[in-house]
């Protein structure tokens, strides 16, 4: 009953690899649980029977088959050990693979969402969900083999108790049923509020730490560290209080099991109708059977934390299942409409206007990065009505902020075209006037750049971003302040190379710049002020 209930709650279908490990874990868990129970019960029977035989004289001793039970006891010791190891390993493997799969799948959904309409998840928040909240689901899988295995172990235990009479077995079953009901119902209810509070506090704390860390220099300058620390500590106090409540509930659940174990074994003892050896077997089996409930109890206690994690993942889960376009969008060059002006494929146009007049916003809207506030069309269709994939097939952007990903030079270039080879990279870098620099780097194209292009200067990052846009080979090139941070000579070389590149390919250009040299690439100038 509880097993499938939890199983359904894992947010995505489990892959076969995970399911097979869960199945193996289940078998191992059953072997370990039942093996341990039989080991203890058989030992109790063996000693009691041996005492009985020992007291009954030489004939009874000679008739006593001691070889089989003593060998079984030693064999069970080995089986239990191996099975427990297998259970742990397989159930954790299943969980970790399932979580990794979920992380990848949710990241994919987020990545494949249309940037113009996707929920705006601050990256700290989204990564907290992808890392932290998903980790909270680990228990869901790890405990999964344990639940049916515990049920199997309980059946074995009930069978053993039945050797002491039907009343003994009935009482044990009664205690088990009460414990299961109590542990399935009480802890989740009692801990729901605390689990929600703990998750909310952790999320708040993460957001606060990220926000405050972004304002470090201010904190230092104004001496605000004590005040900010006090705010963080107040949040951690709430977290601690919630977690303390959860720890108490977990401890109380364990206490319930201990009480149940003592009561069940005493009840079996008092109601046993069998002889002493089987009574010994049944009593020890009863005590071990109740311990099997622990696997279910643990799941139940952590249930609240798990459902809280799932709840917080809902925003990501509610993103549509990624759909891949059946046919690649047309790469047939389309004219761009900016305001009333229609720009034919292959044309070169500069957006002009004072800084802050919205040139970057127009360029970013043309690139499909943001919803457009201006009247922009592609092939006569308003951009907003255009599928993102179609827009992307038309334009390649070198944005004002270079937007380099952490990785190597080649990783950044491959972003534009996965199949690009070293020669094409070199050619693009030469056009962007960056090849000389990359060539000098110890690992060349494979040099790690670090976050945001780390080792490169600002102007170099810009040129890498231009090389990337060239490699995309789209009908339109969008350049936003391409020569920012360049000296005059490099700027002139860049403009000459870009001019040749555009001419050779007949690629269209939309450029925004406040510098004269790159603006010379354009044939027509469009004032942005005329657009709105």
């Amino acid at each position: 009953m509880i097993g499938p209930m939890i199983g359904r709650r894992f947010p995505l279908p489990l892959p076969p690899r995970v399911r097979s490990r869960i199945a193996l874990g289940l078998l191992a868990a059953l072997a370990a649980g039942a093996g341990g129970l039989v080991l203890l019960a058989l030992s109790g029977w063996f000693i009691t029977a041996a005492a009985l035989a020992g007291a009954s004289g030489a004939a009874a001793i000679a008739a006593f088959n001691y070889l089989l039970p003593s060998a079984a006891i030693r064999g069970l010791a080995v089986v239990r050990t191996a099975a427990r190891y297998g259970e742990r390993l397989w159930s954790h493997e299943a969980a970790l693979h399932a979580l990794a799969g979920l992380r990848g799948a949710l990241f994919t959904r987020l990545a494949l969402a249309d940037g113009r309409t996707a929920p705006d998840l601050a990256s700290g928040d989204a990564s907290a969900r992808l890392i932290g909240d998903i980790a909270a689901l680990e228990d869901l899988i790890v405990r999964r083999p344990g639940i049916p295995a515990a049920a199997g172990t309980m059946l074995v235990g009930l069978g053993a108790a039945a050797l002491a009479g039907w009343l003994a077995a009935l009482l044990l079953a009664g205690v088990l049923a009460l414990l299961l009901a109590a542990l399935a119902l009480l802890p989740p209810r009692l801990s729901a509020a605390s689990a929600a509070a703990a998750a909310a506090s952790t999320a708040a704390l993460r957001a606060m730490l990220i926000d405050y860390a972004a304002a470090r220099s201010e904190i230092i300058t104004y001496g605000l560290a004590p005040r900010v620390t006090a705010l963080l500590v107040a949040e951690t106090d709430r977290l601690d209080a919630a977690q303390r409540q959860l720890a108490r509930i977990e401890a109380a659940s364990g206490g319930l099991l201990i009480a149940g174990s003592a009561i069940a074994s005493a009840a079996v003892l008092l109601t046993s109708t069998a002889a002493a050896p089987l009574t010994a077997l049944a009593v020890l089996a009863a005590s071990a059977t109740v311990e099997a409930v622990a696997a279910i109890a643990r799941s139940s206690v952590r249930e609240a934390a798990v459902s809280e994690g799932t709840e917080r993942l809902r925003v990501l889960l509610s993103l549509p299942e990624p759909e891949r376009a059946a046919t690649p969008p047309t790469a047939e060059p389309l004219p761009i409409g900016i305001g009333t002006a229609s720009v034919a494929p292959g044309s070169r146009v500069a957006l002009t206007g004072p800084s802050g007049s919205g040139k970057t916003r127009v360029i970013e809207a043309l690139a499909g990065l943001r919803a457009s506030a201006h009247a922009l069309t592609l092939g006569g269709t308003p951009l907003a009505a255009m599928p993102a994939a179609t827009i992307r097939a038309q334009v390649a952007l070198a944005p004002q902020e270079p937007m380099l990903i952490a990785g190597t030079v080649a990783d950044n270039l491959r972003l534009a075209r996965p199949s690009v080879d070293a020669a094409a990279m070199e050619a693009a870098l030469r056009t962007a006037q960056l090849w000389a620099r990359v060539e000098r780097m110890p690992q060349g194209l494979d040099t790690l750049l670090g976050e945001d292009g780390g080792v490169l200067s600002g102007g170099e990052r810009k040129r890498l971003s231009i090389a990337r846009a060239l490699l995309a080979e789209r009908p339109w090139l969008l350049l936003d302040e391409p020569s920012e941070g360049l000296d005059g000579a490099t700027e002139a070389a860049l403009v000459t190379a870009l001019d040749a590149w555009l001419a050779a390919r007949g690629t269209g250009l939309v450029i925004a710049s406040h510098r004269a040299a790159p603006l010379a690439l354009a044939r027509t100038h469009l004032p942005v002020s005329a657009l709105s």
Partner: protein
Amino acid sequence: MSLHKAAGLAWTSDIAGAAVFAWGIATALEAQLAGGHDTAKGAALMLLGGLLRLTSQYGAQVLGFDEGRAVAQARRAALYPRLLGLAGPAAPALGATATLGIDHVAAEQARAARFAPVRKAATLAPVLVAIVIALASWVAALILLATLILFVFGMIVAGGAARTAADRQMASITALSALYVDRLRHLPIIRHFAAEDRIARAAGAAAEDVAVRTIAVLRAAFLSSAILEFFAALSVALVAVYCGFSLLGMLPFPAPENLDFRAAFFVLVLAPEFYLPMHRLAAAYHEKQLGEAAEKALAEVPEPMNLPRTGKAGGAIALRGAVVEWPGHRIGPVDLALSARGLVCITGPTGSGKTSLLAALAGQVAPSEGMIETLPADAIAWAGQVPLLLPTTLEDNLRLGRPDADAATVAEAVHAVGLDALLAKRADGLATLIDHHGAWLSGGERRRLGLARALIADRALLLADEPTADLDAQSAEQIIALLVAEAQRRAVVVATHDERLAAVADTVIAL
């Protein structure tokens, strides 16, 4: 310290309940074996034993949590000022800051709560169990101790490999976090180049890689527990076989002791308790490994620079051949001498080190070459890119740099940065409450708030990071005029890539 002992002792006291329970079963079964049916006394002892165990274990877990909480509280109190008091390139990145401040502290807390108490119990409790068992059967106690020696040997072999694996795993989790933050941040450009499929696959592969590493750590940890389980099961089996053969009188050697049924059964039921404390220890081994790795990572957070908070405001501000560098980055050498007034612009695209150079001017980052002379912190005002917002009123937030500023000063600054229109829209005006996200503030408004705060602070040196970004043209002009006016009264250094601002500067440093 006293708390520490308490949880360990509570775990140790669990043995008393176990012994009473075992004695109860043995007593009742002996009565039944003797043909009597007086099992009530034994059953009562079993229930009493259960009650004792319940109390010990509940207490141990609650006390253990409190111990962990105490460790976490002490750690956070020391760590948070350190994490937030570091500026410039040495400071952990945003994602790493959250990992250090939350996840690593939680790992340490779990170790203190779950591992430390059971370790205390693991040294004392087995000895006590052996003593209690020896009272009933010294041979059984000897069997247990003999398996213990083999077990300890096995653990020494298995333990070493686990540690290196745990360290590697911790590093890979941090790297995974950083990768996800980076890729999520650049999703717009990734989508633009239609590379989301590949990047998502790579992100999934990275998560899978961490899973594989984690499994390696767990394999080592589970091997340790398997060794433990083996000896625990073996010891019970050996005790059972010894007791059985002893009661049959069929021992292959002269009986070393006269064992009766009650003693034998008592020993059998109590024997698993001998390894139970170590079993609990093994169950908490994962927490120990993660806790140790976290402790190491936390110890590597650098100490903030020891800045003079107060001092002479009229001192010189100068950079002489100053170079700021960190792995893969190098800014400078920069030469600059600031007079008491004037506007200096540091230009260059994002990531070229403008903010780090500002931090160096604030004395928050030490140069690797050359020298930096600057004012004490209380003579510097900082208007950042993402100004700090504390969950209090707007007015309190404006006064963070000078809590005793009078109302007129605040109003003047709010007007100067052009925030009055915003205030007019809020019913509570300056008393409006905000949260640290600044929910209803736009990026530009938040920036202007930071600038107003810096003006209210009224310091000799004003450092502003991209003060005109996110602003419309008219607002930007207003801010530029304001900065030019301020530069008549104090030294103003601005990091910007706004050429209108650079055009009016007295000095421009291009990075």
